[in-house]
Symmetry: C2
Subunit: 511 residues, 2 copies
Amino acid sequence: MAAVDSLSASGAKPGFKAIPGIVKDKVVGVAKNASKIGKDDPRKVMHCGKVGLALTLNSLFYYYNPLYDGFGQSGIWAVLTVVVVFEFTVGGTLSKSLNRGFATFSAASLGFGVVYLAQLSGRDEQAMVIGVVVFILAALTTFTRFFPRIKKKYDYGMVIFILTFSMVAVSGYRAEKIMVMSYQRLLTVVIGGATCIIISILVCPAWAGEDLQNLIAGNIEKLAKSLEGFGNAYFCFPDEDDESGVVAKGDDKAYDHQHYKSVLNSKTSEESLATFAWWEIGHGEFRFRHPWKQYLKVGDLARECASHIHALSAYLTSENQAPIEFVKTIKEPCMAMCSESTKALRELSSTLKTMTHPSPAIQTHLQTSKAAIADLRAALQASPAAGAGAGAGADLFSIIPVLAVASILTDIAACVDKISESTEELSVKARFKKPGKADNNSSAPAPAPELQLLHRGTVNPVAEDEGGYAAVAISGTSQDSPEIGNSNPPEDETKKIISKSGEANNIVNKT
Amino acid sequence: MAAVDSLSASGAKPGFKAIPGIVKDKVVGVAKNASKIGKDDPRKVMHCGKVGLALTLNSLFYYYNPLYDGFGQSGIWAVLTVVVVFEFTVGGTLSKSLNRGFATFSAASLGFGVVYLAQLSGRDEQAMVIGVVVFILAALTTFTRFFPRIKKKYDYGMVIFILTFSMVAVSGYRAEKIMVMSYQRLLTVVIGGATCIIISILVCPAWAGEDLQNLIAGNIEKLAKSLEGFGNAYFCFPDEDDESGVVAKGDDKAYDHQHYKSVLNSKTSEESLATFAWWEIGHGEFRFRHPWKQYLKVGDLARECASHIHALSAYLTSENQAPIEFVKTIKEPCMAMCSESTKALRELSSTLKTMTHPSPAIQTHLQTSKAAIADLRAALQASPAAGAGAGAGADLFSIIPVLAVASILTDIAACVDKISESTEELSVKARFKKPGKADNNSSAPAPAPELQLLHRGTVNPVAEDEGGYAAVAISGTSQDSPEIGNSNPPEDETKKIISKSGEANNIVNKT
């Protein structure tokens, strides 16, 4: 339509050729879109086939004579149920089927009771009694839908409760064979729901729990990519001998650090997947009562980290130019923080994906990152800028952006530490697999994860709405850090730690 | 249940007295919860009554003999429609009713066509043909639900399309009077939907559009409160002669700046309200095609601002202590930025609430805020810390938090500027009322808002997912700022500007 409008507006009348052209473009556009959706997640295409199959099976109530003779027109309720309860994920289907089943049963029972009681009064009063009861019950049930807990898990059940109760109570006024009819309907609803559940579990199941885990692992991976992209773009000076003496921003790499953006808006998806996952039966590594809430906590921390990275990215496009001399003085510790946090995030993502206990390499990366914070402190305390404006007239004002980047990087390091603690807690709660041979290799520092968890004290992951970032947290060099009392470890020591972490990495990858 | 479990766990068996006690506590808890929901938004209680009313009215198809004689059992579809389409907001109800109406009509027509064609073949082939067509159409329609655009506005219509088509096609195989029955059902669906629409519009309407506007205006007000709370907590030293010489954080005021948190998570609510508002008819100041998307842009910018405030709040609870001497040197411009941004946010919120053109006072506040940024630059350039570590051994490392706070405050000022631009654009698009007499009063600097908009160049509000913060943006002291070339206006001049804005404020409030 928009295309037609613009044509008319420009004075050219859409001729006989133009309209098919527009339609063709539209069709091609839709087809491309559809093929993209199908390629991105082939389970979606499968889902459509599953819905068709369930519908066709339940249509047999009509097509197959013996069934039709038994259920009559009530068979259509099986078809109806399939259409409204079959959701993409197993959890969604289970949630809607069970809600519908229980709501139908309880509302129908209550409806019969009311109809029976109303029949005790006269015919004229009967309509009045039923009318008043339907009004009150519908209003009350509608109100319960405003309770957040009920809204989250039982909203659909409440709708079906009002629906069935009204139907039974109102039609009970007229139908004589209401008991038989209701029994048939309840049975067909159960059959319709059961078909959906069975097909959604047996034919290429799309588990909400797995989707949640992959979403969060993917988000953490995205954070790692963004952080790596930022480090490369901000601290790498392709033309270091640039005469201008100011930081040359790697604009061509600007897209490397954009991955975090989808993380910022994934809260709603995570929560709805966790709600669906709550309904799912145990399967594979996932038990019936898997700690889904702990996944949400990890997801919230990942979002906190994403918002730090969002703040970082502003400095990449900032017009405020930092003096290159000063940037160079703190480049090394900042790059180390960046790369160690990136590596830790990658490890954490793989911990989630493979459902194994967190690799000891993560702790190594976190320690190295803390050592880099100590290096940064030393570099700043010794910085000529503090003494007298280094190089190209560096005053306090002009170095603010670089200091802010350094400060945010330490925040990110603290946040990665929190993600690591929360993931460790998850690995214990969800009984992740223990890594096999890595523990026996003495070259990697490998404390048992549970012991480590106890050692680190009570873990209090920060929920997003309790919030409060981890502060500048350069004070975060923890008391049990090996760097305490030696705030500026010699460079070769840092390298040793890094190489150790590299080894640990390789070991984990081999196992 | 949890209470019972805990009792059993502690060894005390729930006695005859304990269970009623627990039940009583539970009931009291639910009642308190319910009364809170009702008090927070009395329209929710009203909504329950409206649903009851619509149901009772549509039950008349059964109770009232002449209607029952006309429609028979199809009357139940009116009841069914009411239960599933009556939503809290007018927009929600319209969206579902129209979706249901059009989907039922088109699917029923298509269903008849298919049944007619199938009847041309033999009886045995008929079931086969219908089965195959239902399978294909259901699968295709299910797939369209994965298209984001369709999911957003027409998801319910698609479900009803599959539902009605399957019902008509499948039951067409058996029912002889299918035309009459379908006509009756369509009519009762239309009547049920129309009842819902009429009641939801005429009886205490809850317009999604108004809710959206109030939500966004409320969010901006919350930002103002948080920012004010932060300024008071961070820069006010109750015991300025404190011997420790470090910033004393006002912990008791910690809760004053927590308002922003709900803003961070309001994206989903805003989007769903905007989708519902899109369906709403014109009412009051809101036209039929009100620029809802522009509201979302303002909402996104408010969220960006909230994430800056979130970053600020970390410094309030930070253990890293900044030397009080240094904080004092930049306290004045920072406080000015804080308070001017707060005032501008308050004005913007009231602009949205009252649907009037943005008050000229907003520009005054923004200009004063820019002047404060220039003051900050001057203060930092002249700071003794840049010369040689002021007072209590202030090195670069220890002043990072204070510099970061200053930097974030300038980001916030830039963000408030963007919110102001976006709100101006909204006020033009949505044809907000012009402020009446304020324009005639020469004491207030009152350029016509439209002219001002043109003067400020093309407005490019930043959508959240295009993102990128406004950088440290101290370079943001714009070229047309009156402070250019006079980066440190004398204090009395600043006061004059503030008092002018105060006057403008009063004028706006009077009109």
